[in-house]
Symmetry: C2
Subunit: 325 residues, 2 copies
């Protein structure tokens, strides 16, 4: 089958000779309908996590086979974290921090930019009919965006989101869906307009003084040292800065404000897919304005290249069915 | 009077010609009995905060004059944060984050390494007779050490303290006083023995693998990038790292673990002087094993130099009364 694979020798390559995955007990076999390219995919190509295998962790697809026949034929998304199912983190919490987890297309498990993939049956979340493929494919990043709410304190301050890339914009949409006030600071008028259209306050980051944007709750979604430094300046004393990007580079930043202002800097990663699908199904979030381009799976390397172009929002890859080799 | 002053031209200098401070309404005039040298003083000398004036914020002294005559003659310590008294932070909380605060010997207010000093009357805390001067002088850093408890989560995990300098050791003593289990990781056998004598588990930082020291609660008290990086490795997923030192240098550190493990990195600064004095009075903490040397005020520059020597614990400066110029 076709799959966009990453290996040490060739980098990211579309291969037509990849064996279709075989599911084992507890797992489901899924035919990919649509996949999204995430900045994490681009980082993996640059060496992050030393990942080797099929890329992709944002997808919607149809279940071809599963232990439970009720799943077969259903349209699904999936939690990308596949925990061991045995440890406390898996039994008592969401398993997102299971020490033995695999992560779809990121760690120890082939990803979704392929004709077919295998995911644990317990990770599947059904997609209601009213949610289009090109909205459902955002379920994973939307879950992560909604998870920001779990990191914010009890404050009802307007949340400041630093960054108007696809992550920052999706976080803004997610917060608005939960009736939080949002101010997005970015560098791109057209992108800021997307957030404004959804109800956010927006401003060019260079146009607003720190003193006019202070908040108990700031989300750093630029992935830069400068962004983090500004987030720390914008946080009120004893406020919270949510760090949302696993940049491959190191931060070089003065953390003295963390101590002096007793700021809470908290990392936030993956969220609940059930919550994300509910938000899509209730039409509280429509992420489709973030779509920049669509490619057939046969053009996945071009899609990856396009997604890596500075300033491009979400690039989708569709499995049209006539791509099969 | 004698005072250890910092100015741009001469650096830290003991001057004999400093005018005795005059108290204004709401303030108290205090005769210093004993003062401590803190690493922050050494940082101020290196340029931190651009501070100019009398150094010192750790002290115990006698009230010479105050609006309320009940204070006169009492032995006191004081909250070093002098808030405006009007803002929400001052009215509703402790004023430690008042935007208009002065901070004794650190920002906008002459410090305690002098024969006399002035502090707001509302900042005074009386010292019970049973607490010796050389214990009471630790009230301010002990308050900061006890404040770590406010930053820790609800976990009952043994707290890992990184660093066996005077800050790390005092934090260990403070946590032990609150019946928390403590593991101190350091590089100095003799200092680790001080913590062990108080009941802490201790180990050379180089002798223990990360996997054997994981905790929901880690306190970074080394002030180094390497220390912070290790603290982030030692924190369990969704655990807390308390950042305790305002190092003048920048941290250069990979914050990806903050995001991947959803760690809560929280700054912690000053604490409650009342709580610190209570812990001293109840003899739950005896900080005096941390005393490395005592100097008369007339030798304050030597004291500062000694305190700046690598590895030296607490240096005290005593106002013997016969120093007066």
């Amino acid at each position: 089958m076709l799959a966009l694979t990453l290996d040490a020798a060739s980098g990211a390559t579309l291969r037509a000779d990849v064996s279709a995955p075989a599911r084992t007990r507890g797992e489901s076999l899924v035919r990919m309908r649509c996949a999204g390219v995430c900045d994490t995919d681009l980082q993996l190509v640059r060496g992050y996590m030393n990942y080797r295998g099929t890329l992709g962790h944002e997808f919607v697809g149809d279940v071809l086979d599963a232990d439970d026949p009720a799943w077969v034929g259903r349209r699904v998304v999936a939690d990308i974290n596949a925990g061991c199912g045995q440890c406390d983190d898996c039994r008592l919490r969401d398993g997102h921090h299971c020490a033995h987890r695999t992560v779809l297309g990121i760690a120890g498990r082939h990803g979704a930019i392929a004709e077919q993939l295998v995911v644990p049956e317990r990770c599947l979340v059904a997609v209601p009919d009213g949610v289009a493929d090109d909205a459902a494919v955002f379920a994973e990043p939307l879950a992560a965006a909604l998870h920001v709410l779990d990191a914010l304190g009890a404050t009802r301050d307007r949340v400041v989101v630093l960054g108007d890339g696809k992550l920052g914009l999706l976080i803004a949409l997610a917060l608005l869906a939960e009736a939080r006030g949002v101010l997005v600071l970015g560098h791109h008028v057209a992108k800021l307009e997307l957030a404004a259209a959804a109800g956010a306050d927006v401003a060019l980051a260079t146009d607003i003084a720190d003193g006019d944007a202070r908040s108990d709750a700031v989300v750093e979604a630029t992935g830069t040292s400068a962004g983090l430094a500004r987030a720390l300046r914008l946080a009120r004393p004893r406020g919270t800065v949510v760090l949302k990007t696993t940049v491959a580079s190191r931060y070089d930043v003065d953390l003295a404000p963390v101590v002096v202002n007793e700021v809470n800097l908290v990392g936030s990663r993956c969220g609940s897919m059930v919550r994300a699908v509910a938000a899509l199904s209730d039409q509280r979030v429509d992420p489709r304005p973030l779509i920049a381009a669509r490619y057939p799976l046969s053009h996945a390397t071009q899609a990856l290249s396009h997604a890596g172009t500075r300033g491009v929002l979400k690039v989708l890859i569709e499995n049209l069915g006539n791509d099969r080799s």
